[in-house]
Symmetry: C2
Subunit: 438 residues, 2 copies
C-alpha cells in the first residue's frame, strides 16, 4: 500500500527546519504501519540526528510513538504505582532489589521491560534464569500481581509502543542510536504509555553506558523530565555512575544470586545502595511518623526480611521456584566450568572498562547481539574488585562461569584487560551525580 509521499517533510529536517507535530506524526505512524519506506525513515533518522529535534519536536515524536499502540491505565491497582527504568548498564540489578523494597513500603512497582541488547544485561533475562519463571504476563495478570504482591516485572507486549521497536531496530542499523532526543523519545514513550503515579529514571553514565559524559547524561535526564512534565506525570531522574560494573555479577543466574544475597542481608554494595536511594527519594502516597523517613523505612524493610519475602512472592506469582530465595546455589542453573580470576599486577584499580566486561560476559553466552539470539542463563562473570581498591598480584578478584575451559580463559583475559591498575591511588567515583525532577 503506497502511503503519503513524505519526502518533503524529510527534506525540511534535512535543511534544518523545525517540523510540525502532524508532520512528525505522519512519518512515525506511517513507518509503524508500513506505509512509509524504510529508506525514507532511515534518512529521516539521520537528518534528525544531525540537525537535532527541539523540545516541541521531541514531544511530537514521543506522542506519535505513544499513539502507535495501546496504553495501560493500571486502574485495577489500588496501590500508588511506580515505574523504574534504567537506560542500561553492566551488572545493573537495581530493579530486582528496588521492586521488592518499594513494594514492601506499600507502593505498587509496575515494571514492563525490554530484553537486554549488546553489552548491557536485561532484567527479564535475569529473572527468567529462575526455573519456571515467566515474564509474558497478560495486562490483567500484570495488574493483579502488582495489586496483590506489590511488584511485577513483565515483558513489554508488542502492542505497547510498537513504533519504538521498529524505530530502535532502524536506529541500530543506521548509526543513529546515540542522539539525546531520539533516546529520550524511545525511553519516555514506553514510560508514558503505562500510567503510573511516579516514574523513576536511572540515567547511566560512563564506560558501560550509552552516555559517556555526565553532560550528555544530564541532557538526556533533562529532556526526559521535560517530556514527563508535558504529560503531567511525576518523575525523578538520577544520573548515576556506570564507569565500572555497578554490582559484582555480570550474567543472569549470577545476578539473581547477587539480588538474593542483598535481600538476605548477606551482601551490601552499590546495587543495594542505589536501590535504597531510589526508594528513599520519596515514593507516592506515603506518610511516615515524624521519627521515620522514606530512607529509614526502606532500610527497615530490607533488614527485616520483608523485601526478601516480597521477592519470594513475586517469583512465585510469576511461576518461578520460590526456593530460589532460600537456596539459590541449588535452584539456579550452574555453569560446568568455574574458574577464578586473579589480579595480574599490584596497585590501585583506577578504571574498569565496563562495556568490555559486559561484552566478555556476552561472549560467554550471557548476552545477545541480535534480538533473536538465545542466551545461556548460567554463564557470566563475577568481578568483586571496585575502582579505588588496592589489588595484589595473584589475589582472587572474581570468577568466570563458563561452558568450557577455553571460553573461561578468554573471559578471564578479557576481564584483566579491562582493568586499569596504577601505583597511585584514586578516589572511587560517586554513585549519583545528580537528580532532575519533572
Amino acid at each position: 500500500v503506497p502511503g503519503p509521499d513524505l519526502r518533503h517533510v524529510v527534506a525540511l529536517k534535512r535543511d534544518g527546519h523545525t517540523l510540525h507535530e502532524d508532520e512528525i506524526r505522519s512519518l512515525v505512524l506511517g513507518y509503524a504501519r508500513g506505509e512509509v519506506g524504510t529508506e525514507l525513515a532511515a534518512a529521516f533518522l539521520m537528518a534528525a540526528y544531525i540537525r537535532g529535534l527541539d523540545p516541541a519536536e521531541t514531544r511530537a515524536l514521543t506522542d506519535a510513538m505513544v499513539r502507535s499502540g495501546r496504553t495501560l491505565s493500571l486502574e485495577g491497582i489500588s496501590r500508588p504505582t511506580v515505574d523504574k527504568h534504567s537506560t542500561g548498564g553492566v551488572a545493573d540489578g537495581v530493579t530486582l532489589v528496588f521492586a521488592p523494597v518499594a513494594a514492601s513500603m506499600g507502593v505498587g512497582v509496575a515494571k514492563l521491560s525490554g530484553r537486554g541488547l549488546g553489552h548491557t544485561g536485561g532484567t527479564l533475562d535475569k529473572l527468567e534464569s529462575i526455573p519456571g519463571l515467566r515474564t509474558d504476563l497478560s495486562p490483567e495478570e500484570f495488574e493483579r500481581q502488582v495489586d496483590r504482591v506489590g511488584c511485577a516485572v513483565a515483558a513489554q507486549t508488542a502492542d505497547l509502543v510498537p513504533a519504538d521497536g521498529a524505530l530502535y531496530a532502524l536506529r541500530d542499523a543506521t548509526a543513529t542510536v546515540p542522539s539525546v532526543p531520539l533516546i529520550a523519545a524511545s525511553v519516555m514513550s514506553k514510560k508514558l504509555a503505562v500510567e503510573t503515579d511516579l516514574i523513576l529514571l536511572d540515567v547511566k553514565v560512563g564506560s558501560g553506558a550509552f552516555m559517556k559524559t555526565v553532560e550528555a547524561a544530564e541532557e538526556l535526564a533533562g529532556t526526559c523530565m521535560e517530556l514527563a512534565k508535558a504529560w503531567g506525570r511525576a518523575a525523578y531522574a538520577a544520573v548515576t555512575d556506570m564507569s565500572q560494573p555497578l554490582g559484582t555479577a555480570i550474567g543472569n543466574a549470577l545476578d539473581i544470586a547477587e539480588t538474593v544475597a542483598i535481600l538476605r542481608g548477606e551482601e551490601r554494595g552499590r546495587v543495594a545502595e542505589l536501590a535504597l536511594t531510589f526508594a528513599g527519594e520519596g515514593l507516592p502516597g506515603q506518610s511516615w511518623p515524624d521519627d521515620q523517613t522514606a530512607r529509614s523505612k526502606a532500610e527497615h524493610v530490607l533488614a527485616s526480611g520483608e523485601a526478601l519475602e516480597t521477592f519470594r512472592r513475586m517469583v512465585e506469582a510469576q511461576g518461578g521456584d520460590p526456593r530460589v530465595v532460600d537456596d539459590p546455589q541449588n535452584v539456579l542453573p550452574r555453569a560446568p566450568v568455574v574458574e577464578p580470576v586473579f589480579a595480574r599486577r599490584s596497585g590501585t584499580l583506577v578504571a574498569v572498562d565496563a562495556e568490555a566486561v559486559g561484552r566478555a560476559s556476552g561472549a560467554l553466552g550471557a548476552g545477545r547481539t541480535t534480538k533473536e539470539e538465545a542466551i545461556d542463563p548460567a554463564v557470566g562473570i563475577v568481578l568483586r574488585a571496585k575502582v579505588g581498591d588496592r589489588l595484589d598480584t595473584g589475589e582472587p578478584i572474581g570468577e568466570v562461569h563458563a561452558r568450557d575451559d577455553s571460553a573461561a580463559r578468554a573471559a578471564a583475559d578479557a576481564v584483566n584487560a579491562a582493568l586499569a591498575v596504577r601505583d597511585d591511588g584514586v578516589e572511587p567515583p560517586p554513585l549519583v551525580y545528580g537528580w532532575r525532577r519533572a
Copy 2:
C-alpha cells in the same frame, strides 16, 4: 549474505569527518553488491547530503561508481569521439541536433543515455517515438554505428555503472537528490566509464532544472570538471538557461518533429543555437582552413543538409523509419486530440514555470514518474511563446496534443497557469551563462 559492518563509517560522516577512499569504496560497492543494507546506505546519503563531500571524497565516490561495472574503451572507433550530456531540462532536444551536426563535422558522437524521469524528458524516449527505432544496442553495435554513421544514441546497459542506478533510486526515495557532489558523481561516473576524447556537459539552471540558481549550477559544473581533470579527460561544461522550455516541443514525437524541422532548416531557435554553440566550441581532432571556424563549419553542415542526412542514417542504422526526415507528420504517431492554446491576457511574457509545463506534458502521458511506467509517444505540448515575447489575449501560442478533450483542457489550463504575463517588458534570459573547462 551479511557483509562488513560499515556503521562506523556512516557515523564518521554523520559527525562531520572526512572519509577515506577505501571507506567510501566499501560502502558504495557493498551497497551495489547487496551486502550493505538499504537503511545504512540511505543514512549515508543523508549524512553525505548534510555534511557534504570534499573533492577527494567526491573523487572516491565517483571512482567507486565507475568500478561498480564495466567500462567502454571505444577502441573500435576510428573517429575522435565526443560524449554530450545534459543535466536534464524541458524541451531539451539539443542532443538530437548536436549529434548529427557534430558527426557531419567528422567526429564520432557516442551517446549513452538514461530514461527521462519526473518533469524532464529523455532522449531515448524521444527517439523511440520513431517507428521501429531501437536504443538497446550492444556495445559492439554501438561502436560500429559511431564509427560508420558518426553518431549513435543508445540506452545505457545495466552493467555500466550499476551503482549509479541503485544509488539514484535511493536518493530519489530519501530526499537526497539535489546535492552537488552526489549529482556530480552520478553524472560523471557514467561519462568517465565511456572513454571518449571529449566530454561536453550542459548544466541546466532555472525553473525547469534541478539546479535553481546560477551559483549552484556553476558549482556543479566546476565539480564535474574537477572530476574530468582528475581522470585526465578533456571536458567542457556550459551553464545554460532552463528558466523556460528550451525548444517549442515538450513531448516525444513532437520533439522529433522539432528536431527534423531544425535539421531541414525550417526552424531555428534556442535548441539549434545551443547545439551549434556546443559544436562550435571546438571538437577534438579537427583542423580548419584559416577562413573557417568550428562554428562556421557547424553552420555549414546544418545549412547544406549534411546533418539531416546523418540523422537519417542514424535513424536507419537503429532500425527506425528513415522517412521520418522527409515526412515527419505522417511517419510519427499522432494524438487524437489537438487543441490550440491561446494567450489569456495581453502583455509581455516575463517568466515560464518550465517544471510546471514539463509536469503538464507528463500528465498527458508523455513522461513517467516511476521507472516502470509506459509513456505515450504521441502526446505533449507545443509552446511557441518565449520570455520577452509580446502576447495579445486570444493569440494562439501553441497547442496541446492529447488522448481526449478533458486531458487537453487540463493541460491548456496548466500551460497558461505556468505563464507570467506583465505590462512591463523584460530582457530575454541569456542562452549560456558561462563555461568551465577541465
